[in-house]
Amino acid sequence: MGGEFTGPFVEMLLFIFMIGMALYIARMRSLFTAAMLFGIFSLLSAGMLTLMDAVDVAFTEAAVGAGISTVLFLGALGLTTSEEAPDSKHGWTALLIVTATGLLLAYAALDMPAYGDPNAPIQLHVAPHYLKDSEQEVGIPNVVTSVLASYRGYDTFGETTVVLTAAVGAILLLGGGVGRVGAGKGRDDEGGRRMSDTPIKMRVRETVILRVVGKALVPFILLFALYVQFHGDYGPGGGFQAGVIFAAGLILHALIFGLDALRRAIPQVVVEIGIAAGALIYGGVGVASMVLGGEFLHYGVFDRHNPAHGQHLGILLVEFGVGITVTFVMVAIFYAFAGRSRQ
C-alpha cells in the first residue's frame, strides 16, 4: 500500500467522486444513466473499501453492487421505463429530515475515536481475539472467513436465508419466468419483448465478435468462480462471491445465447432445488455437528483429535452451501426478471 502519505489523498479523491456520483444519481432524469452511475458508485466504493483493508467486502461490493445490482436495475428499467418524470414536490421536508439526521450523525461521529485510531474500543475488545487466536482455533489464515463461517457462522446462515427469501419473492411476484401472474396464466411467449430482447442485448447477440469472445469468456468466469469458492480460506473470496460470479457467468451466457438456451440447460425446477439444497447443506452441517454432540455449527466436533481440521472441513462445506444457494438464487432472480414480458 502507498503508506500514510498518499493514502488519504486517494481516499479523499474517491470520496469526492462518490459524492459527485450520488448527487448525479439524485438529479439524473435518465434512469438508465442513473443505473450506470450507480454501478460506478459501487465500483468506487469497492475501491474505497480496498483502501480501508476490507478486501473481502470490496470484492463482494464489486460483484454485487457494481455487477448484480446494476444488472437488476437495468433489467427492471427494461421492463418499466427509463425516464423519470419531473419532480416538483416534497423536497423541503425530506431535506430537513435528512439534514437533521446528518447533523445528528456528525455530532456523534466527531465524538468517535479518530479514523484509524488503533486504540479505539473496537480494536481492543473481541477483534484482537480473532486476530490472535483464530489461527490456532480455526486454522485458516483469512480471519474474515474464520469469523464469517465459524465464529459468526450463524449470521452467515441467516444471510443465506435472506438471499433465499429474495428468490422466494422474485419467483412469487414475477412467476419465475414460467407464467404470467394474474391475468392469463399461459406462457408468455406470445407477445411482447423480453428483457433479454431489449435493443442493447439484441445487438449483443448479433455481434459476432461479442459472441465469440463471450463464448470464450464464460468458461473462464465459471472457473474463476470455482477458484474464489475454494480459495476463500486463504485470500479474499468465499461462497458468496463465488456464487455471484458463477451466476454472472451463466447470465452472460444467457445474454449471448438467449434465455431459452440457459433454461434448457438449467430448468427452473433445478434452480429451485439448487436454492434449497445450498441452504440445506449449510443447515445440514450444523445439524450434523449437533448430532455429533456439539452445538449448532460447532465444526470442531467433526474431528475430535484435531478440532482445527474439523473447523476447516465445516467451513469448506458451509461455504459450498452458500455458493450453491447464491448461484441459483441469482439465476432464479434473473429468470424471474428476464422471463417477464413487457406490457
Partner: protein, 135 residues
C-alpha cells in the same frame, strides 16, 4: 476552534460517509420515481457499509489475512468486514425484491411514478363513491 478543525480533520472519513448516507436517504424519501427510491436506498446502504468499515480501519494496518510467522503486522479489524458482507447481501436481496415489486406495479398501473399511482388510486376511490351514490 482549532480543536473543532482538528476533530473534523481526524474524522473527515466519517463525515464524508455521512454525507453519502444522507444523499442516499434523501433520494429514497424525496423522489417520486420508485426506481429512484430503490437506488437511493442502495446508496444509503452502501454508505453504511463504508461507515462500518471505516470504524475497522487501523492506521498502517492491512487486510486481516494472516501471514504466517510475522508478528509485526497490524491488521485491520475483521469483524465489521464480516458484518458488512452480510449487509451487502441483505442490500441486494432488498433491491431485488423492490425491483420485482416495481415491475409488478408498472404492470398494474402503467407507471412507476408515485404521484401518478396515488392519483389513480384516488380517482378509483372517487369513482367507487360516485357509483355508490348513484345506486
Amino acid at each position: 476552534m482549532t480543536s473543532l478543525a482538528n476533530q473534523i480533520l481526524s474524522h473527515w472519513n466519517y463525515l464524508a460517509v455521512i454525507t453519502l448516507m444522507m444523499i442516499g436517504l434523501y433520494i429514497a424519501i424525496s423522489r417520486g420515481n420508485l426506481v429512484k427510491k430503490v437506488m437511493g436506498m442502495s446508496v444509503f446502504q452502501t454508505s453504511v457499509i463504508l461507515l462500518y468499515v471505516s470504524m475497522a480501519k487501523v492506521t498502517g494496518g492491512t487486510a486481516p489475512i494472516l501471514i504466517e510467522g510475522r508478528d509485526d503486522i497490524i491488521y485491520s479489524n475483521p469483524l465489521p468486514h464480516v458484518l458488512m458482507l452480510t449487509a451487502i447481501v441483505v442490500g441486494v436481496a432488498t433491491t431485488a425484491l423492490g425491483l420485482a415489486l416495481i415491475v409488478r406495479i408498472n404492470e398494474a398501473y402503467g407507471t412507476v411514478e408515485e404521484d401518478e399511482i396515488v392519483a389513480m388510486d384516488r380517482a378509483e376511490d372517487e369513482r367507487d363513491l360516485r357509483s355508490e351514490d348513484a345506486s
